[in-house]
Subunit: 431 residues, 2 copies
């Protein structure tokens, strides 16, 4: 009976009028103004902690108090340096009869207007305190991956496909959409058109920036080949082609660019690698993001460098087909490249306690593998596409990364004094 009261009467209703609906900003008044710092003083139990930093405006409250006769509430709110606001209540039954916890989380980013809340219940008995805390605080992102039969040398068609898929994904509530590698022009380096189209990259980038802002969605527009004049030449025709991914914020800003470093062997005669440039992390609303491209994913070094710099999500536009295996490889296993991708993407998440967002070109049948997916440690593919054209939206629960790092402590090892391995780029950059 105590459980019943706890469950039905006292949870999920008290603050109902203040909860925001997804994408609006209607909640938060109760905590931010009238009751902040006061409610905890009544019926206090356990450790009270309230801190406020007047310089940054960040605050942090960590209080257990009796919400009512049946419910003890653990309340915490926090604002980070960039103004993002996190809030959660965890309620539990004071009788001890009901072992579940009822969690209310809120998240708001005033820079982007993004906000959401989430209510959930979990069984506390399975969770350590730190894991439970991270499950409580970390956000869940709605992620869209997009794949289609990319038409060679037809940027208008491909761009049109991209825009319509991104628009649909945004209307499904996705906070980010990711396209495949070579999504604008496919791969046709022998055609003179291929290089000349690469000089139009800015037009398409501008279009995606406008779309991102209009739809309030982050976009990684796969990769676009960019033609750049070489530094050493004054000849306008003396250009280098870079295979470039970028991260466009939901404000329409390009937050970071990455040029493919580990170029697939048959592509090497045509493209220029970022070579010894370090891998860099991009600060985004979703967290710290690293961009890699296609064959890069075979190189654990690329991930490690990003992870060492704090990357949480690795986004990988890809153009990987069944026939990237040699005839001899296909004779050994016709599904070898599917196995390569499936095993490696999951392994990368475990070994780096990171998330992977993978968007690969799809079809026609027996060529590009699709398999676009969201991957997490512990779980492997959260959700995966086949080889069909289309898009998929899946939840990327960032709390899983904290649970994984709490378990495997890979980032802790990498950061530790005297770790056994380090990287050329660390030496190059002195970091």
């Amino acid at each position: 009976m105590t459980s019943n009261l706890y469950g039905s009467t006292n949870y999920g209703t008290n603050y109902g009028t203040n909860y925001g609906t997804y994408g609006t900003d209607a909640y938060g008044n109760t905590y931010d103004t009238s009751t902040y710092g006061t409610a905890a003083d009544a019926n206090t139990y356990g450790a009270n902690r309230t801190s406020y930093d007047p310089t940054t405006g960040s605050y942090d409250q960590h209080i257990d108090y009796d919400r009512d006769a049946y419910t003890r509430r653990h309340h915490r709110e926090q604002m980070d340096d960039s103004g993002r606001y996190y809030h959660r209540d965890v309620d539990r039954d004071t009788s001890g009869l009901d072992n579940t916890r009822r969690v209310h989380k809120e998240y708001s980013n005033p820079n982007t207007g993004t906000s959401y809340h989430r209510d959930s219940t979990y069984d506390r008995s399975n969770l350590t305190d730190s894991a439970a805390d991270s499950q409580i605080m970390a956000p869940v992102h709605k992620v869209a991956v997009i794949q289609w039969h990319i038409k060679n040398l037809d940027p208008e068609y491909n761009h049109g496909q991209a825009v319509s898929y991104i628009t649909a994904a945004a209307s499904d509530g996705a906070s980010i959409a990711v396209l495949p590698e070579y999504h604008l022009c496919g791969w046709a380096p022998e055609s003179p058109l291929f290089a000349s189209l690469a000089s139009q990259y800015q037009t398409y980038l501008d279009s995606y920036c406008n779309l991102a802002k209009k739809l309030n969605i982050n976009i990684v527009p796969g990769t676009i080949i960019e033609a750049h004049k070489t530094d050493k030449s004054s000849d306008e025709n003396d250009i280098l082609l870079y295979n470039t991914a970028c991260f466009i914020s939901s404000r329409g800003q390009i937050l970071g660019k990455y040029r493919k470093k580990n170029i697939w062997h048959p592509e090497r005669p045509h493209l220029t690698s970022s070579a010894t440039d370090p891998h860099e992390v991009i600060e985004t609303d979703l967290g710290k993001v690293g961009l890699l491209i296609c064959w890069d994913l075979a190189f654990p070094e690329a991930f490690r460098e990003l992870i060492a710099k704090g990357a949480e999500i690795i986004i990988i536009p890809t153009y990987w087909g069944k026939l990237d295996a040699s005839p001899a490889g296909l004779a050994i296993n016709p599904e070898s490249e599917r196995l390569f991708l499936d095993s490696t993407l999951t392994s990368r998440c475990f070994e780096n306690t990171c998330a992977v967002i993978f968007a690969n070109a799809a079809g026609p049948s027996d060529t590009f593998l699709g398999m676009s997916r969201i991957v997490l440690p512990f779980i492997g593919p959260v959700k995966s596409m086949g080889a069909e054209e289309g898009y998929m939206v899946a939840d990327l629960d960032m709390s899983v990364l904290d649970v994984a790092e709490d378990n495997y402590k890979v980032r802790q090892d990498i950061k530790s004094e005297g770790w056994y391995y380090s990287y050329r780029h660390d030496q190059l950059t002195g970091k």
Copy 2:
């Protein structure tokens, strides 16, 4: 009709009386003495090449000649520096009607008495020349992995299990047998017995060396905890515990030892890591071998260092259980550690164009995962055990590594001038 003659009359019979049966040395007379260097002079077509190095005794013959009216033979034999002899004939139908190739291979190692022959047919149309050549020349090893419920602090029982399984594997023709990590005493570091048993490691090592010689089989006796006095102390009781794997040749010699570097977190208070010692490759009859242990497999750096030094086979004694996932991790996916092992072992083979021999502790149910397996690029697990006690013998076809490297060129990249990544150990050792 031409194909019929080619297939039935002229292949697989001519040298039948000279072919060795597995494990004997009855073949080779025809090539080594009476006809070597002469047969090729009759009916010659294509490039003839015969070289002989009087210093090392190695010879290399590369000849195409018409074996008879229907059969063109491509013949090659070679002896390497350590006296290992390779030989193969590839016959094809001169009419062109039959596109298959019939291959006869022989291998002999006079140092160990190991020899075998293999006859096979393949469809030439699927193979590039280099891949076909490597498929033809590379040996196939019969590999045994062994797993059982290891009893804590009971080395006599565990050693007895190991000896009986190794003996059975040898009688099945295995050329190597691999045991799990902690195979002698399990894991019970809180017991005073644990450290004192670790001082007896040499007794068991000697036993395995004798067994290897007696059975003519290579043995990696999982890991054995070794107690060593610290350099700095004169106190006999001031010891360090190393978790050590070694490779014992079929002559009963310890060819190399490795102390676990990346120690699993709960073990760190009890064991000493090899820390900044480089990973070293061991030259064996099976090829170049690297030893890693359990949690090491989560570190791609460990593999890369071995691969950069030429390792072809990575052998990984392991003690990995379902409960190595935290309660929070298990709540997310009760099968997380199975997924970790399955994806990572396969990914390592693709990303390093190497083979993995994995021997893990098994059961009781819901604890140690077993899953001992032989893994190759393209294929993933060639064959895998479940969680049962026992052993398994599977073919490890080294030619797959050549096909993989031919496809992915990972080793080529790692060795190339100005490669983008390198390792601390490279800097430490100046290599």
